[in-house]
């Protein structure tokens, strides 16, 4: 299907474009947030042979609205000796970057707020700011547990940033551009086939970065009260929750754009393809949450530094060699080759993967 591109200043001039897409992005995030919370609870429940929320509205569809109302009406408690201003700012600092990510994500050809030529770099940079908000929250609460919670969250997030960024670089090499628009345009073959290892590394690392199971040990909701957000209540807590789901949505959108061919697909309209792929990725995230138990902190760190990081480096090297040495060869040739390389590397590295010099069970 011929790609149809919206003009860069659709629907007319610069400011109209800005206004329309700002509204679209905010609405998209809020609607998807409501949909995702409902979808996650339902899907999780069904896979655990339960029913999930089914009282508010048909199929419990109004449950997120009820939850939102509850959160809005709750008392806003600020610790007496906490840093009031920072305590107030932290949820905003955590949430806004998650929203800003969507500025560069194309919903369909040309349909994005700003086609930055450094799109991926922008996403990597902006999404790290969330960590600052988390640390602000931990610090401002004047509570040792929330400070510790924030610290360990940062420790895990910062470690996982490295393999995530490195695994995206492979895609950037293939596409020859950092712009997400161009990356989508370059995907005549979805990059999940050309970069199977990169996809796995990115997805695992992204799960850890947004604190989803199996890497949610810093705020393990079945074991701990919470991490950095113990001292938060009401809408401020709600903003952290919103930020968490906005990040999950952002990760789904980034994976869709970078690895699954973005809005490209046959028959259906482009934006619908984008939504479907985002939904599938989010379903996989939920699916993983039902399946895999939480990892320990040593496993978490070892996975980042001993498994994902070297594999990401190797993946980058292999991709670079493939592109430099055989630029004329059809990319289809590399699909089976790269899948084979991914399997071999994973098996090999799993053999090497040890904890505590092999004295601790993996």
């Amino acid at each position: 299907m011929a790609m149809q591109w919206l003009p860069p200043d659709w629907p007319g001039n610069f400011w109209a474009h800005w206004a329309v897409f700002t509204v679209i992005i905010v609405a998209f995030i809020l609607v998807m947030f409501l949909a995702f919370t409902w979808f996650e609870r339902r899907a999780l429940a069904i896979m655990q042979a339960r029913l999930g929320p089914n009282r508010a509205g048909p199929f419990g569809l109004l449950q997120p609205v009820a939850d939102g109302l509850k959160v809005l009406l709750k008392e806003d408690i600020v610790p007496a000796k906490g840093d009031k201003l920072v305590h107030w700012l932290a949820p905003v600092v955590a949430f806004v970057p998650a929203m800003l990510i969507f500025a560069v994500i194309p919903f369909q050809g040309g349909a994005l707020l700003a086609d930055l030529n450094i799109g991926i770099l922008y996403i990597v940079a902006i999404s790290s700011v969330t960590t600052v908000g988390i640390f602000m929250a931990g610090w401002a609460s004047n509570n040792k547990y929330s400070t510790l919670g924030a610290m360990r969250q940062i420790a895990s997030v910062v470690s996982y940033e490295i393999p995530v960024v490195l695994s995206v670089v492979g895609v950037v090499l293939l596409a020859g551009s950092l712009s997400l628009q161009q990356i989508v345009a370059a995907q005549d073959i979805p990059f999940i086939l050309l970069q199977p290892l990169g996809f796995l590394l990115f997805f695992i690392g992204a799960l850890a970065e947004i604190n989803r199971t199996p890497f949610d040990l810093t705020e393990a909701d079945s074991e701990l009260v919470a991490g950095f957000n113990i001292e938060y209540s009401g809408i401020k807590w709600g903003l952290f929750f919103l930020a968490e789901y906005a990040e999950a949505l952002a990760i789904s959108a980034i994976v869709t754009t970078v690895f699954l061919g973005g809005w490209r697909g046959p028959l259906l309209p482009d934006w619908l393809w984008f939504l479907v792929k985002v939904g599938i990725i989010f379903f996989v995230i939920v699916w993983i949450r039902t399946t895999i138990p939480r990892v320990r902190i040593d496993q978490l760190m070892a996975l980042a530094w001993k498994f994902l990081f070297p594999l990401a480096l190797l993946n980058l090297l292999i991709t670079a060699v493939e592109i430099l040495v055989w630029p004329e060869v059809s990319l289809w040739v590399f699909v089976p080759v790269n899948i084979a390389i991914a399997i071999v590397l994973i098996v090999l590295w799993s053999k090497f993967f040890k904890l505590g010099w092999g004295k601790v069970e993996v």
């Binding site: 899907a43 429940a45 069904i46 896979m47 655990q48 042979a49 339960r50 029913l51 089914n54 699916w287 993983i288 039902t290 399946t291 895999i292 994973i346 098996v347 799993s350 053999k351 993967f353 993996v362």
Partner: protein
């Protein structure tokens, strides 16, 4: 070679969870769906048959909680006891069923109901007037297999039977 270590274990787990998408939930949506309790259930009331009771007081003696109060007067003409009051404080009752087992005249039963919770502690007090067997106050098959046979079968979750009773 243990392939579980190379991601195969995770893949197996993922197939198990995805298969559960097609399974029916095991939860019961209580007020709309009800499960039949065991036919020998010891529900939260006692049922007493005034016609059969001879006022012997065996049930009160068997009750180690002391939740049964029975007072009788002597009917000299017919040469038997007349039950003046029969009271059970189900707030004290531990539903052990010993009184039912002790009764030599098949006059005392456990109830089949489990929904007789009350708002006030005083309402847990049962006396003669509200101890008779009625359609709302069904008799459980506890200690009486003949009565148990007439009750509906217990619904088991494996049968996926969540019908109304």
């Amino acid at each position: 070679m243990k392939f579980e270590r190379y991601g195969l274990g995770i893949a197996k787990g993922l197939t198990v969870t995805i298969r559960h998408l097609l399974r029916r939930p095991v939860t019961t949506q209580y007020p709309e769906q009800r499960l039949n309790p065991s036919r020998r259930t010891r529900g939260n009331e006692l049922i007493w048959d005034e016609a059969k009771c001879t006022g012997c007081g065996t049930c009160a003696k068997a009750c180690h909680i002391g939740a049964i109060h029975i007072s009788t007067s002597t009917d000299l003409v017919n040469n038997k006891y007349e039950v003046k009051s029969y009271e059970v404080d189900t707030g004290y009752c531990i539903f052990c069923g010993l009184c039912v087992e002790a009764c030599p005249f098949e006059a005392l039963f456990m109830s089949y109901d489990y929904e007789r919770a009350q708002y006030r502690r005083g309402d847990l007090f049962q006396s003669k007037e509200n101890m008779a067997e009625t359609p709302e106050r069904k008799v459980s098959g506890y200690f009486y297999p003949g009565r148990a046979a007439k009750l509906p079968k217990q619904s088991l979750l494996v049968d996926n039977d969540r019908g109304k009773r």
